[in-house]
Amino acid sequence: MTSSPPPDFSEKSGPPASTGVRPPASTGRSGQSSLKGNSRLGDSVFFGLSAGSGILLLVIMAAIAGFLLFRSGIAISKDHTNFLTTFGWDPDNILKPSFGIAVLAFGTIVSAAIAMLIAVPIATGIALFISHYAPRRIAQPFAYLVDLLAAVPSIIYGLWGALFLVPHLNGLMSWLNEYLGWTYIFKTTDPGAPARSLFTVGILLAIMVLPIITAVSREVFRQVPRAHEEAALALGATRWEMIRTAVLPFGRPGIISASMLGLGRALGETIAVATVLSSSSVLSLHILDAGGGTFAQNIALKFGEAGPLGKDALMAAGMVLFVITLLVNGAARLIIARRKEYSGANA
């Protein structure tokens, strides 16, 4: 533990090392009291600055909540219909402004749920692949590639989704409709129409959140104590049994919180959804049919032509979204905090 840092000090930080030597020399010249006074002032200024920025962050969070609440309060009080159960979105109607989040909440939850159903098992599989299955040669570059893909802007996912994924999903859609149409969920009322549905949005969101879920769960799987794995193998377990008995139980909180981080992202995704979904104020359980909407997508689309009350109404939708993501992310962080070593916030 103690042998390595001193060389670190001398070779890595040349300039700091020399500054570290200089102060005693200047101490002799400038005198004890002035140095002390100086350093106290400097210390308190610096402490004030850094604590101040920490507090500033808290103030920003509080201000976001406060302003959105204030604005949405204005909007909801002018709403002539029930904000929670109304389907349509017509806040700029001068005579009878009416808007509600029923369709948006439904669409947001359904698309995020589809994304999670697809992404979580696959991401867990990829994380296991990187940490336990892949040959070293492949694992490292592949992990790197996954990290890079987390940085692809969502507008590009949206463009790809609208111009590449949608036409290519038509076959799958008609197959699902043909063989699973009896489930009601997979029934298509308008076969052959472009697949700009909540289901497609769910698939696109799954692809978008794969990298982050993979990155966080991979870090967790890497931290499984080697001794646990070797003990399982020594008792005669196959590799899969070792993973089931040693790796997955250790990594479960990590998988859960990674999924919730991904969920938070899927819930708040805006522009990719707006690009792919052809929205309408229809709440339909036929998830293959075009239509529906999500909170974020609705805000982005309706913002351009929104009047004063329209903007406030969008803030109300934003407030609901903010609260939902706050709860999801907060829960994820609380789970993650039980094991302090991995946080994944920088992934």
Partner: protein
């Protein structure tokens, strides 16, 4: 003593083989089964006249799983068979993930490569009738994006850095815990919510108009928590011996932080900031809401609407919405992806070049 030589020279003693080392499928078995199931899948697919090659592949994959399970269960036992199933499922997950991600990259490069050229990079859309033909470029959008992320970095990087210093160097007690928690939660704020917040305070509350600066305020909110988290990780890696050595020489704390701790971690901090920049460079929704859209060059980010690359893509896709618009959108997408990936690669390069090694 008696078993060792017999195992070593592999004498074919069937009973011994069964009790000591259970029978195994030969090493080439997975490859063999894969080849067999691909042949079978193609045969059935062609025989039944299935049009889509995707269905052939699915058939082959199903056959592979079934045959290898059956074979392994017969020869090696059920536990080994389950192990083989798990292995093949995990490989399937890998392949399933690679297909869309690679397709995204390849398709963007394919579509965008023909559009991007010197003309495209150095001209704006001023005077170009976007819907009726090719032409025009992204210079105004590139300029706007660079100015906006520059301003956002100038706001977010110092605040994020100081917050991280507070958390690592001073942070004890409840305030630090609360800040840590809310920084984590703040990473998950949807970008559109940050946009709405700036809209309600800056534009509606204080009466400012569309400008690049109000966009950068929203981007700064999105960037701060990322900077805090990555800087925090880096500051934690600075060995404590360095700080103690500095204190022992009589250096005050603030000077120790400024001259010893931060320079040691500067590589990692730079990496974190650049990753955060890469993250906000592609933000569309808040920028569209706060900066507006504009088809000409506006080099003053404080007055008037500006264009930015993501908004340009969105505009060309959703408003122009024909082949010319799509072509320009793909060109801009390629430039944006190159920008983001370039930032990422540089950041990771810096990280591996001079990151403090964890004390071990």
């Amino acid at each position: 003593m008696t078993t060792a030589p017999s195992v070593a020279d592999r004498t074919p003693v069937p009973q011994l083989n069964h009790t000591l080392t259970a029978a195994r499928l030969p090493r080439w078995a997975p490859a063999g089964v894969a080849a067999l199931s691909i042949v079978l899948g193609c045969a059935i697919g062609a025989g039944a006249g299935l049009a889509s090659h995707l269905q052939w592949g699915l058939l082959a994959a199903l056959l592979f799983v079934a045959i290898s399970f059956g074979l392994a269960a017969r020869v090696e036992g059920v536990r080994q068979a389950k192990d083989r199933i798990a292995t093949s499922l995990i490989w399937v997950a890998f392949i399933l993930a690679v297909i869309p991600l690679v397709s995204l990259m390849v398709y963007t490069i394919q579509q965008g490569a023909g559009v991007v050229n010197g003309d495209f990079l150095t001209h704006s859309m001023r005077g170009v009738v976007a819907s009726s033909g090719p032409g025009g470029g992204i210079y105004h959008a590139l300029l706007g994006t660079l100015q906006q992320i520059g301003l956002a970095t100038a706001i977010a990087a110092p605040i994020g850095l100081l917050t991280a210093v507070y958390l690592v160097e001073y942070g004890r007690g409840p305030l630090a815990k609360i800040v840590t928690f809310f920084v984590d939660v703040m990473t998950g704020i949807p970008s559109i919510v940050a946009g709405l917040f700036i809209l309600s305070v800056w534009n509606i509350g204080l009466g400012f108009q569309y400008s690049g600066f109000s966009g950068s305020l929203a981007l700064a909110i999105l960037m701060m928590p990322v900077v805090v988290r990555s800087t925090e990780e880096m500051l934690k890696l600075v060995p404590n011996e360095l700080r103690e050595a500095s204190y022992a020489l009589g250096v005050p704390k603030w000077k120790t932080i400024l001259r010893i701790v931060l320079p040691t971690a500067i590589g990692g901090i730079t990496t974190g900031v650049m990753l955060a920049i890469a993250r906000i460079a592609g933000e569309t929704a808040p920028v569209m809401m706060l900066v507006g859209v504009w088809d000409s060059i506006n080099s003053n980010p404080f007055v008037g609407p500006q264009e930015s690359l993501p908004v340009f893509i969105w505009q060309q896709y959703s408003q122009v919405n024909n082949q010319y618009g799509y072509a320009r959108a793909w060109g801009a997408a390629l430039v944006l992806i190159a920008l983001v990936m370039g930032l990422n690669l540089i950041a990771r390069g810096i990280a591996s070049w001079r990151s403090p090694k964890a004390g071990r």
